[in-house]
Amino acid sequence: MRRLVLIAFLALLAGIASAQQVVEVLAQPRPEWEVMERLFPEFERETGIRVNITYFAELERRSRSRLDASSGAGQFDVYYIDEANVAEFAANGWLVPIRDYYPEEYDFDGFAPALVEVLSQDGIAYGAPITKEGDVMFYRQDLLDEHGLAAPTTLDEYLEVVQALHDPPRLYGTGTRGLRGSGMNVWRFSPYLHAFGGRYVDDDGNPVFNSPEAVQAVEYYIELILHSPSPTMSWSDVMDSFAAGRIGIVTFADLKMDTLQDPERSILPGLMGFGAPPAGPAGSVSNTSVHGLAISAPGARTEAEREAAGEFIGWFTSQENELRKVAAGWGLTNARTATFDSDVFIDAYPEAFADAMSGMLEVQRLTIVQIPEWGEIGDYLGIKLEELFTAAFSNQPYDIQAALDDAVAHAERVLGR
């Protein structure tokens, strides 16, 4: 009997010793993560920490991580965060300040400071940036040459090019996001709102996106929708249509260049021209999006769990891995200054594209409002915009002012709740 107890005790000890540290990650599927996942065994060998990733598409990812944090379930140690939800997560204490657990050897200060700032609240960094995006104008140089058109620099010229190239169903002048959602049509619309001189909230935080400038911006955007293949395109619909040669000119995330210059997934290599976003009455404006990895406070409860999560985030975002992403053809989904300055990065993209990106960097700004209520406010505005776009596309009557008034009234209710 005594021997039996001893054996059981030893078995228990062995069990504890082999209980590996596991980092649970909630992420959103991206092509470069497939590249990274193939490198995980390397990390697991070096650290003895196992990584388990659960993927959800963008909207699901946001609601799942919120549910996980808010309910206290804490199934995940690492959240995938972005500029739109960092405010909510930080304000509720769902994230751990990242610098406290980011290993020194991986050099947190190597990230471009502007990107870290987007994932910070009140000066405290919560996320290690993994990718950023801004807007670049992509157009079909061959078609512009054919029509004898110059590359547009203003929104008026841009619309002229769109109209000149529009010859459906063979070719659509442009394609732009119409599918509703704070991160969907509202995201794509936001730089236009600012380029026309409008804004979402005034200095006191009151919603003002029913101003005459905002109405003008929507009018302009509807013109783009009317020259698109469909009024409810998602970003991937737009990218696929452009890559297939069915769209003449678009302005969207610079990141898409990695796909568009890949001959296996696009007919466009060698046919494209690039530029900074065209200027509206209030100048040229580009979105700024930053995605990052953060440590979940309810998920990583113990010091050991937080250290393991930090170790994983540090390794994932290391300089070495960023360069590996460049080599694998996903150079734009990075966040370190040294990566963007490296020769391999510079050689990977045409000079004209690099120039367009420089132009983009000069006009990049945060076009949405970083408040916890943004998701709900943006989603409602997205519905109103989708209603306008689909009504216009179907030749049905619509009223921009009434729709925006409605969305502003909704925003006031949400903010007052």
């Binding site: 919120r66 309910s71 509720n92 509703r180 009024p231 998701g375 989708e386 689909t390």
Partner: protein
Amino acid sequence: MSKRQFFYVFLIPTVVVLLAFALYPLFTAIYYSLHDWDLRRTEPMAFIGLGNYLEMFQDARFLNSLRISGLFLVGTVAGSVLVAFVLAPFVHETARSHALRSACLFAFILPAVLPRVGAAYMWRLMYDPSIGVINYLFSLVNLGPFIFLQNPRLALPSIIVIDVWQWGFLLTALMMILLREVPNEVIEAARLDGTNMLQLYVLIMYPLILPLSLPLIFVKMMESLRSFDFIFVLTAGGPGIATETLDMYAYWQGLGTAGRVSYAAAMSIFMVILSIVFVTIAWRALRRWHES
């Protein structure tokens, strides 16, 4: 063990499953609906009584979703029943051979065998303005291209058509089987009395098979009330809120984006009450009509 005890023992699994998966969620939903649980906030939830229920009726988007759910229910049930009541007699009268009837049955059941989400994806492609087969057929006669799912006025009817395609044909198949069961003597007697085809069906065949087809229609009604997955794939409630049913709106408010779990729970409870009331009234009315 007495016979009675024996029955009780066999009831246990059912009762446990019912408690765990039906009653427990229902009562927690009622509990949450009387509070103000918001996923965006960390402070503990407070009891607010009927606040969520009162807010619901001032919420234009909720009233819209109620209307959409109603239209979807009426459209899909009426459409399916109409297809079945017209198509079943037609096939029954024209396809006389056993092989032909079996082939028709097989073809009619096929759409319903497809998973809802699969059927939705298939139709989304078929409806596509540029690559869809429906617009291709229209283009042969120089019409179109039409947009279906992105048109605020056409979206809901387009979705109803898909539902009727699945359920109308299924009901047709079941109705054909029922028609086959009507005794020949009845039909011959009616023929001798000089009824025409319309009279034969309206006065004799339909009333005979109705008691058996009513439960089918009720199953369809219940099914129409929960078409979340199906509509989610097709339009996710859009364009705007043109196809946003009650369950879809509850999802957006609850887990989708707003994070207002309590408000969404209140909507779900309201939906449960509404379906119970509605089904009871409809059931009684149909029975009374049948008995008279």
